[in-house]
């Protein structure tokens, strides 16, 4: 790892000043950034350690019934907060399906959004990667690409955003609260991450030096608590990124779907809100036939850039399975294997 200047500001305004220097990077949990720095994938000149900023580690209920998650709230603390897990069970389940217990004790809510969209060629500095080095090409096209994107990719980049947390968040209309030199602004999570296009190196709408200070969930997000699930297909049972994942949230009355939210993970450079599928579900009978039609709508624009055509059918099946699980109802207890389609012991005790 190349050395750097280390600064530890005490306030948000000090942090913004410190990070205004070109070559600066904010450090929170460090679970992605330090790893990338060790590999020489990124080499900041200055690290601005924001972990001691006092205001950013709170979970607050807002006057309008919404929720405000401070950017430094750690994944484990959020997932195991009983009130949070009760109101937003799919988000808690997604958090607990990600990484390991050690990493969840370090990783933060804001940092989760800013983990890099990446693949193994991004990590390998001997390979061409437009995301790491704009204009150098993409070794993944024509390379080992069976786990890459099936939606929203371009010839410049076919990597996926690996977040679990972001998938139910984008389904539930989460909003990112951003502080910069010009003051505070709000961006929907759906608009926060960018598709690669010709500029895959620009992953989000953040301007240099801007800081995520919180993530907000609107009041309506808690209305899905009785029928909300996150399911994640992995190549091993635990501690792996999603091959494909889905978050589904339903409101069902008299056998009809009155509201529906659906998003996919592991399929694109951003958490993928499936609005066309939601339109199919709205007003439909709450049954498997409707869910199959929704899955077809969600994947209508999918195409494989390489050896990953199997992910399209897999994604359809995960969408149907997740919607069926959501319809069946949120489990009273968090499953022992959160988000696993193979969880063999539903209802095994859990503290969330």
């Amino acid at each position: 790892m190349r050395d750097f200047d280390y600064v530890r500001p005490a306030t948000i305004s000090e942090a913004l000043v410190a990070a205004a220097e070109p070559g600066s990077a904010y450090l929170a949990g460090g679970t992605n950034l330090l790893d990338l720095m060790k590999g020489g994938v990124t080499s900041p000149e200055r690290i601005v350690d924001i972990t001691r900023l006092p205001e950013l580690n709170r979970i607050e209920t807002l006057d309008d019934g919404g929720l405000r998650i401070g950017a430094l709230v750690r994944n484990a603390d959020l997932a195991h907060d009983p009130a949070f897990a009760k109101a937003y069970p799919a988000v808690a389940e997604a958090l607990l399906s990600g990484a390991s217990a050690q990493l969840r004790n370090a990783a933060t809510a804001g940092g989760n959004l800013l983990q890099r969209t990446r693949c193994s060629y991004f990590y390998d500095t001997a390979s061409a990667c437009n995301r790491r080095e704009p204009g150098s090409g993409c070794s993944a096209l024509g390379g080992e690409n069976r786990l890459h994107a099936i939606l929203g990719w371009s010839d410049a980049c076919i990597a996926t955003h690996p977040s679990d947390f972001c998938v139910p968040l984008v389904a539930l209309d989460a909003v990112v609260e951003i502080e910069g030199k010009q003051g505070r602004r709000h961006v929907t999570l759906e608009e926060f991450h960018r598709l690669p296009g010709d500029t895959p190196q620009r992953e989000t709408v953040l301007e240099p030096g801007e800081l995520i200070v919180a993530i907000r969930l609107p009041a309506e997000a808690a209305s899905f608590a009785a029928h909300a699930r996150y399911l994640k297909m992995r190549e091993r049972t635990s501690y792996a990124f999603a091959v494909v994942s889905a978050a589904a949230a339903l409101t069902v009355r008299d056998g009809k779907i009155r509201a529906a939210r659906l998003a996919l993970g592991g399929v694109a450079a951003k958490p993928w809100r499936a609005r066309a599928a939601e339109a199919v579900l709205l007003g439909a009978d709450a049954d498997e036939a409707a869910f199959v039609r929704a899955a077809d709508a969600a994947l209508a624009d999918a195409s494989p850039p390489g050896d990953n055509a199997f992910k399209i059918e897999l994604a359809r099946r995960i969408v149907v399975r997740t919607l069926m699980s959501a319809l069946a109802g949120t489990p009273a207890l968090m499953p022992a294997l959160p988000a696993s389609p193979f969880s063999s012991l539903p209802g095994v005790r859990h503290d969330a």
């Binding site: 190349r2 200047d5 460090g30 690290i47 217990a101 050690q102 990493l103 022992a336 095994v348």
Partner: protein
């Protein structure tokens, strides 16, 4: 390459206070092993994937390889060397011995630090839950069945 300056870093490790002059890039893992001679904490992958470097920071398990030493300043750090009390092994250490929960032993300090936290968190209620909440600790010898048995035994002892 231009050399950046070192910074003073105050670390509280196993109840002892240390002041080190470190380059900011020094991880907690390298500070423990190379500067303080606390080599019980192991460097496996050095990329946050294997769990061999698991330590406790303010009582919670984290990876020392993905923590800068400077980030740990002012926190209470516990390593495998700090688990025993008055010369007696920690109950989880005893359970690992009794259940033969290792072969080569390289992952064992990380497994034990992780297991102590796993039990304290209340995530050792069933074998399935133990496997899931210990998933961040890899054992290339494949001693997993005995590791699960050791964690289960220690959890039952802690509950009784």
């Amino acid at each position: 390459m231009t050399s950046k300056t070192t910074i003073p870093v105050h670390l509280d490790i196993n109840g002892q206070h240390h002041t080190l002059e470190l380059e900011p890039r020094v991880t907690l893992l390298d500070a423990l092993r190379d500067r303080l001679g606390l080599t019980g904490t192991k460097k496996g992958c050095d990329h946050g994937q294997c769990g061999a470097c698991t330590v406790h920071v303010d009582g919670e398990r984290v990876l020392a390889c993905l923590t800068l030493a400077a980030q740990a300043e002012g926190r209470a750090i516990t390593t495998i060397e700090g688990l025993a009390r008055e010369g007696e092994p920690h109950p989880v250490q005893t359970a690992f011995l009794e259940r033969d929960a290792f072969q080569c032993g390289y992952c064992t300090p990380g497994q034990i630090m992780s297991a102590v936290a796993c039990i304290r968190e209340g995530h050792a209620g069933s074998d399935e839950e133990i496997r899931e909440y210990m998933a961040g600790n890899l054992c290339r010898c494949g001693a997993y069945p005995h590791i699960v048995a050791a964690v289960r035994q220690a959890a039952l002892e802690a509950a009784s």
